[in-house]
């Protein structure tokens, strides 16, 4: 739903970094996307193809590394992955839970030439 603007950001960041590295073409952009982050890789890919046109990012491959949700119990510090929608600690049953991984949304690296 809101992937247009973020894809624009991806193209801008990638093109600027390629310029800094004096690269003429971006081959691949490696993105890290958390499972809980509200961004859909297919939508990003869709917008990327048109937004990257006539830039050094045109034709680049987008590679998404998806980070599964990881939770931490505030009561007993157990790290776990949610089994269902209600977050509760598998060890002590506490529902005081914090999200430790799964909101990532960044460009990790790029392959350029």
């Amino acid at each position: 739903m809101h992937e247009f603007g973020v894809t624009e950001n991806i193209v801008n960041i990638a093109v600027a970094k390629a310029d800094e590295a004096q690269a003429s073409k971006i081959i691949q952009i490696n993105l890290v996307v958390g499972e809980m982050a509200g961004f859909v890789p297919d939508c990003i890919q869709f917008y990327f193809d048109s937004l990257s046109k006539d830039t050094t990012a045109q034709g680049a491959m987008l590679h998404f590394e998806l980070v599964p949700t990881q939770l931490r119990c505030r009561n007993c510090s157990t790290i776990f992955q949610p089994k269902d929608t209600l977050w509760s600690c598998p060890k002590c049953r506490s529902q005081s839970i914090e999200l430790s991984k799964g909101r990532e949304f960044y460009i990790e690296s790029m392959e350029v030439e």
Binding site: F4, G5, V6, W87, S96, L99, Y106, S109, M110
Partner: protein, 224 residues
Amino acid sequence: MKKIEVIQNILEANETIARRNQRLLDGHNVFAINIMSSPGAGKTSLIQQILTRLKGRLNIAVIEGDVASTVDAEKVQSDAKAVIQINTRNMPESCSLMAAMIESALKDIPLDDIDLLLIENVGNLICPSEFTLGEHKRVVISSLPEGDDKPIKYPLIFIDADAVIINKMDLLSYVDFDIAAFRHCVAGLNPKAEIFELSCKTDEGIERWCSWILAKVKSNATKQ
């Protein structure tokens, strides 16, 4: 071919503008609240209540975010010092307000004459959780007819909230909403969030909620 390390947050562009918005607001001593909920939970009613209750005590401006129409802006027009309607329909993102939209709306608000800025986000429990606007506090409203499972289904927006409002308390005897279960779930996700039970229809709980706003505005003003 070579590999270059980037490690750059993709939402940084929005966050940079949000920080700029907050600096501008702080420079004019304006406290901003971002109000989020699903459509129909009572964002506009809550704003109307705040305007009525705090009239004469605070000068309030409102930014209304909607996909289309000016109906909400018209509802709050009479009591607000300034009202700006943002329609997101023709913008690249229509599902949430973004910092850049607020930056441009702030140009039309007489910031020196304002103490409090209420920002009504687009009715949506998903997208607004990804975008900060420059607000000082984030408020999420859940209303009884929606059911008590919203924090389970949409945890992110509750994780980042400073206050959570349970609205439409006047309907408690008509709907199956387990207040204790809702509170337990919100507290589990976000122990720092303050929870308010109220009804914009009957005024129940409004006084306590407005006291919270007044206290926050005051403590922010002393900080400047």
